[in-house]
């Protein structure tokens, strides 16, 4: 049994790593076909991330939403739910934070704290609603959460336009300075990079995720439902309760993304015709990280860094940054279908198994 587990562990680490390598190689190949210089492109990607303290700080802050989205998708995955609605939960979170940030007047740290909590709860409730409909009516959460993404998008447009407009622009009013969660001194130290307290809260969220899943009764129930809802039901667990609860937590993670972006980074919401798409990146992060806390943290860092660095590619090597989105797509693809990776590396795996 121990031997079996060690194979499993080794392979579960090998597949993502090999997937990342193949993904990057495929990206290079496409750049070559397009007549670009892949070495220069990847070099300018790395330079973009580590080039200056400002860029490094900005890269760090762009990791925050990805890790949280990964946690949101990951916790739902573990309960056997596919939360494709993180985008909507992010929107609700940001609207909640914006409402408190613009309308309420409170002294400095409390204003921000209330805004974060309100945004997180709003995101959580938006997620819980999806879980509730699934639990009570058996309607597939994929379809519900897609619908809820669109409803959240237009609802936010309405709320911004009618309650918090910035005259003559396609965006909301700015939040009051007392609701800001930016870390002034650190931001100054990093050349104005928008570093905020959400960074610390994200690390706490990762720890919470790990402890909740592995060390609590609710986490045990969650995993049991994910493995087999029927067996969990027989064992006396309230499956529908677990679903609603899990989707609430998932939504809180999503809501936090929105609150941090509003309170710590942009200070307002722009009225966009489409959702951010961060929720879909969260699927990539969760999958690449194998839905574990550490995995999500690492893969969120990787995908966040790649996405941020891709902005430097068009400047440094005149390669459209979209190529990195393709690379990310390839990576998830290989992680989702490990058979393809094994096919490429069959001889390698064969040897590995023999050694064990």
């Amino acid at each position: 049994m121990d031997k079996l587990m060690s194979i499993f562990r080794r392979e579960s680490a090998v597949i993502p790593v090999v997937s990342i390598i193949i993904g990057l190689l495929l990206g290079a190949l496409i750049m070559l076909i397009g007549g670009y210089d892949p070495l220069l492109a990847y070099e300018s990607l790395v330079t973009k991330i580590f080039g200056s303290s400002y860029d490094f700080g900005e890269a760090l802050r762009s990791i925050v939403p990805l890790v949280l989205c990964g946690l949101a998708v990951g916790i739902a995955f573990r309960a056997g739910l596919f939360n494709i609605g993180v985008d909507g939960q992010i929107i609700m979170g940001s609207v909640g934070a914006l409402l408190v940030g613009t309308k309420l007047s409170l002294p400095a740290p409390f204003h921000a704290i209330v805004a974060v909590i309100f945004g997180a709860i709003l995101g959580g409730l938006w997620g819980a609603l999806v879980g509730y409909i699934k639990a009570k009516r058996g309607i597939n959460e994929v379809i519900t959460s897609i619908m809820f993404n669109f409803i959240a998008l237009y609802l936010s447009h309405y709320l911004i336009r009618y309650f918090m407009p910035q005259a003559g622009t396609q965006r909301s009013a700015m939040i009051q300075e007392s609701a800001s969660i930016q870390i002034g001194w650190l931001s100054e130290l990093m050349g104005g990079a928008r570093i905020h307290w959400g960074f610390l809260l994200t690390i706490i969220a990762v720890i919470f995720y790990s402890i909740y899943l592995n060390r609590t009764k609710w986490g045990y129930e969650l995993r049991a439902v994910g493995l087999s809802p029927d067996a969990a039901e027989y064992a006396g667990m309230k499956v529908s309760k677990v679903m609603v609860r899990t989707m609430f937590i998932s939504g809180v993670f999503g809501g936090l993304v929105g609150t941090f972006e509003v309170l710590g980074v942009f200070k307002y919401i722009a009225i966009n015709s489409v959702t951010s798409g961060l929720g879909f990146d969260g699927i990539a992060v969760a999958l690449l990280g194998g839905n574990s806390a550490l995995g999500v943290l690492l893969s969120g860092m990787l995908i966040g860094a790649l996405t941020y660095g891709s902005q430097g590619m068009s400047f440094g090597a005149e390669v459209p940054g979209e190529i990195i989105r393709m690379v990310i797509g390839f990576i998830i693809f290989f992680v989702a279908a490990p058979g393809i990776v094994r096919l490429f590396f069959r001889p390698l795996f064969h040897k590995m198994k023999k050694k064990v």
Partner: protein, 317 residues
């Protein structure tokens, strides 16, 4: 009366793309393979139709160019959708995840290619030759009905015909029976000699190609070019139409018409004063809210094909 007639006509215009994409989704899901990638296949169809029609146009092919665009979208997206087929059938990847990847790949690679082909521009050039509304002789002259139903884009006529064809194939032919069997009980189908995975390959590849027609429709009738936001979520609406229509071609068409109506109402209602006072956002929200209400209330539990989402291994009976 004119308003109602225009409303019906507008509904058909908006619904056409949904009908194609929903039919595509339905074929795949009937064979047991989930297709979240409809959005990506629509993007692919929109991209290929725009590029091919553009080159046909510059080559001086005139009125033929939109037709070449639509055929090109169908053929080239078949290649793209085989990625989803191979990943889910041969390599047993999680079907939802593979579909999400299709959407990511479609969005990023088309944007990349547009920049590459059109020298850095973020969208394809505007086509001068696109489809025009075709008035059916005689029928088109009937008052009210003529304008409502028989003065439409060729793509609308194709879409409605396709609904009938696919309905007939699924419920009245041997191939349709096999398709349904593969999606309901692949083990049993295998026992009686149906090649389960071959059937699924066909269904998934065709699914992408038909969904691509929906993307092509948008480019070749209303938009006239391809940009990154040409599709913006319409594939997801089509996905809802599949479920809403209970995996039945007629049902999927009705659901698509319903979504089209919700969009058309927005255009027609703006004539009235009372409607002008309702914030626009509520009209945009309408199709999604209605879908939720109908799913929760009237329809009850929609029954998906039994083997939906399950990869099939030969010998697993």
């Amino acid at each position: 009366m004119d308003i109602i007639s225009n409303l019906i006509n507008g509904t058909l215009v908006f619904s056409t793309a949904f009908i194609f994409a929903a039919l595509g989704g339905l074929i795949s899901e009937r064979s047991g393979v989930i297709n979240i990638g409809l959005e990506g296949f629509m993007v692919s169809g929109a991209f290929f139709s725009a590029v091919i029609a553009y080159y046909a146009e510059t080559a001086g092919l005139g009125k033929l160019s939109p037709w070449l665009g639509i055929i090109g979208a169908f053929v080239f997206t078949a290649i793209f959708s085989s990625i989803h087929a191979i990943a889910t059938i041969r390599f047993k990847a999680n079907q939802v995840v593979s579909g999400v990847v299709i959407n990511i790949l479609a969005a990023s690679s088309t944007f990349f290619l547009v920049k590459l082909i059109f020298e850095g521009s973020a969208e394809s050039p505007l086509l001068t030759t696109v489809f025009h509304k075709y008035k059916v002789p005689l029928l088109g002259d009937i008052p009210f009905l003529g304008n409502a139903f028989f003065n439409n884009y060729p793509t609308t006529y194709i879409a409605i015909s396709l609904v009938i064809v696919i309905y007939f194939v699924i419920y009245r032919t041997a191939i349709g029976l096999r398709l349904r069997a593969v999606g309901e009980h692949p083990g049993a189908a295998d026992t009686v000699g149906v090649k389960v995975n071959r059937m699924r390959y066909m269904a998934v590849i065709l699914s992408g190609s038909i969904a691509a027609l929906g993307g092509a429709t948008i480019v070749l009738t209303s938009n006239g070019n391809f940009a990154f936001n040409t599709i913006s979520g319409q594939g997801y609406i089509a996905l809802a139409a599949v479920i809403f229509g209970k995996w039945n071609p007629i049902g999927a068409m009705l659901a698509s018409l319903f979504f089209g109506l919700a969009q058309a109402i927005k255009d027609q209602l703006q004539i009235f004063e009372f409607a002008a006072r309702i914030p626009n956002e509520f009209f945009y929200m309408l199709p999604y809210v209605l879908t939720m209400l109908v799913l929760i209330g009237a329809v009850g539990k929609a029954r998906a094909p039994k083997a939906l989402g399950e990869p099939y291994e030969v010998g697993k009976r």
